[in-house]
């Protein structure tokens, strides 16, 4: 062949690394991102505490010490005690469970709903698309907190009544635990508020990626739809989705605390940071540490998720790598 005269440009001068796999490369990139690594530490800690919390706390979260109510932070109670004399530090550690549950479960539900609705809209288009867009617009036009209150007020009583009836009918102890009603309502409200964001994002990603020539080129190669999705659409849609999910995890926790403040949050036996913040708010002028502990934790976790999300996005985008 006579391509000698078509000389390739000089070598870029980059060492010939064996970069072969996007995920492997992405991991290396992530490890090099300082903010993301800093963000990972509190998140790992959070999950650790959520799992092993009960073994770590100096006090039981319910243990009341009437001799030390509203005590200021001391060597005995690192973050002081609340009005019932419960150790705030212990309650924060227990609260990690609630935070993780609220963040993970509500985000998972809204992500699944969003993925299904968004993909349907993006792929099928036409009437389905119009319907999904209309639904998301409707949901998003309602104020989030109002929605949560309305849901709580309308569904809580009938649901609890139903549980009671089921208990009487089945004598199954499960139905005595009305805490499940709370959980369902809170997660349901959070998912309802959050799914439209994911749905719109996924729809937009699919529409834009579908129109890219590399998808057309893949079709021209005879690639089946499934492989196009896994090799082209998903990796390219991943970045923005990861950013949205990691912001959503923190967002869900913040929202839950707002619910608690309004009295429609999780009424669990174990503490939730949202509940602690809303309780602390009432006394923050006289006893700021009641608010400070959970609020700082929440802020750290939210920011950590955001940093990790950004880091993941950059790590998954070869263009960000510089050369």
């Amino acid at each position: 062949m006579t391509t000698q005269e078509i000389t390739p440009t000089d070598d870029f001068g980059i060492a010939e690394a064996s970069r072969t796999n996007l995920w492997k490369d992405a991991f290396a990139r992530l490890a090099a991102n300082k903010l993301a690594v800093i963000g990972i530490i509190p998140i790992v800690l959070l999950f650790f505490i959520a799992i092993f919390g009960p073994y770590l706390t100096p006090y039981d979260f319910l243990a009341q010490d009437f001799t030390a109510r509203l005590a200021a932070p001391s060597s005995e109670h690192w973050l002081g005690t609340d009005e019932l004399g419960r150790d705030v530090f212990s309650r924060i550690l227990y609260g990690a469970r609630t935070a993780v549950a609220v963040g993970l479960v509500s985000t998972a539900i809204s992500l699944i709903v969003g993925l299904i609705m968004g993909s349907l809209a993006g792929y099928l288009g036409g009437r389905v698309d119009m319907l999904v867009v209309w639904l998301t617009d409707m949901t998003r036009s309602m104020p989030a907190l109002l929605l949560a209150i309305v849901i709580n007020l309308t569904l809580k009583v009938p649901l609890e009544a139903w549980m009671e009836q089921m208990y009487l009918a089945t004598k199954n102890g499960f139905f005595r635990q009305t805490m499940w009603v709370d959980l369902v309502l809170v997660f349901g409200a959070l998912a309802l508020i959050q799914w439209p964001g994911y749905a719109r994002l996924i729809r937009g990603q699919i529409l834009s990626i579908r129109s890219r020539n590399y998808v057309l080129a893949a079709r021209a190669l005879g690639m089946p739809t499934g492989r196009i999705l896994t090799r082209y659409v998903i990796p390219n849609a991943m970045g923005p989705l990861i950013v949205a999910v990691s912001a959503g995890l923190g967002g869900a926790m913040v929202l839950e605390s707002a619910f608690s403040f309004l009295g429609v949050g999780v009424q669990l036996p174990i503490p939730s940071w949202g509940k602690m913040i809303s309780d602390g708010l009432r006394m923050w002028q006289t006893h700021p540490y009641l608010l400070a502990g959970p609020a700082v934790m929440m802020a750290i976790i939210t920011v950590s998720f955001a940093w990790l999300g950004d880091g993941l996005n950059d790590a998954l985008n070869p263009r960000q790598w510089g050369g």
Binding site: T3, L221, M223
Partner: protein, 330 residues
């Protein structure tokens, strides 16, 4: 070489009355439905080993022709034959073995490579998909393909953003070649590239054609480029092919008034000739493909238009052997 006489070769690809309409919504709120007549009753053939150039102004339906021919758009009507076997109506699964044999190279090398896939993997996709090679053999094939298109095989582990436009186009060519195709639609493969890079890609495409006995449908809007690379040329205007002939005939003796106008619009890279030559400039703009003119679609701009032109569609006929045209005045 591409300049060999191809007149007596068998057609590899043949399209017959190929039509593609798009329905779109127009109006400020998308309230009105309309039909874009992107491709209307187009017939031509591409013979084995030749390059058929397809020229026309932007929006005249060249890309639609290429994509519909490859069944990447479902045709509204009409037929496409590959080796005289009809491919229109085949399911995607039935198409798959044919896809390996018919490839496409796009205009914009930036959006044609997934930014999240190394170029080695991009080139390897077709090998995997059509089970042409795997493992070590696949690596060797990828290296050889990169070498064939004038890139350093060590580039296989890099991502597209590290490459210039011309280099990306070489990668796209390598990916198309990986299938060992017989037929490639080149959809304006050089239009987005720098002048000095365009010639490199043209030469590369010609070398590869010779080496692998490829057949090209070469789409372009640049007449000089088409003249350089093609054996035969088809001229499109507003969704229709208006003239098709061996290149010498088409450029030296154009029959259709639009072809003629197009040729007169091309600047001559010679100042003395430019000063002397008569500048007859075709007036007006290309009408909308949503409501194309009746009869001959060129009639509102045609200097020769006469009685039947605005209501009778001129017949697509062979005016001289091998020289097809659709015009009442010929």
């Amino acid at each position: 070489m591409s300049q060999t006489d191809s007149s007596n070769r068998a057609p590899l690809v043949r399209v017959e009355n190929l039509t593609k309409h798009f329905s779109v919504r127009i109006g400020a709120y998308g309230e009105t439905k309309a039909t874009v007549h992107a491709l209307d009753e187009v017939s031509f053939d591409v013979r084995r080993g030749e390059t058929l150039g397809l020229v026309g102004e932007s929006g005249c339906g060249k890309s639609t022709a290429g994509l519909t021919l490859l069944q990447l758009h479902r045709p509204t009507s009409g037929k496409v034959y590959f080796e005289e076997k009809e491919v229109t109506g085949l399911s995607e699964k039935e198409m798959r073995p044919l896809r390996r044999r018919m490839q496409i190279i796009f205009q914009d090398p930036y959006s044609t490579l997934s930014p999240r896939m190394t170029i080695g993997n991009a080139i390897g996709e077709p090998l995997w998909l059509h089970e042409l090679a795997s493992g070590r053999e696949a690596q060797e094939r990828i290296s050889r393909l990169l070498n064939d298109v004038g890139l350093n095989p060590a580039f296989a582990f890099r991502y597209p953003h590290e490459f210039s436009g011309g280099q990306r186009q070489r990668v796209c060519i390598a990916r198309a070649l990986a299938c060992e195709p017989e037929f490639i639609v080149c959809d304006e493969p050089i239009s987005a590239l720098d002048v000095s890079i365009q010639a490199q890609i043209i030469n590369l495409l010609q070398d590869l054609q010779e080496e692998y006995d490829l057949t090209y449908l070469f789409i372009a809007h640049d007449l000089a480029v088409v003249r350089h690379i093609s054996d035969r040329v088809a001229v499109m205007y507003l969704g229709r092919v208006v003239e098709m002939a061996p290149k010498e005939r088409l450029f030296d003796n154009p029959l259709h008034p639009y072809t003629n106008a197009l040729l007169l619009s091309v600047p001559v890279p010679n100042p003395r000739q430019e000063r002397q030559r008569e500048h007859i400039v075709i007036q007006g703009n290309v009408p909308s493909a949503i409501s194309p003119p009746s009869g001959c679609r060129f009639h509102p701009r045609c200097p020769l238009a006469f009685e039947p032109c605005d209501h009778v569609v001129p017949e697509w006929r062979e005016a001289e052997p091998g020289h097809w045209v659709a015009c009442h005045a010929v």
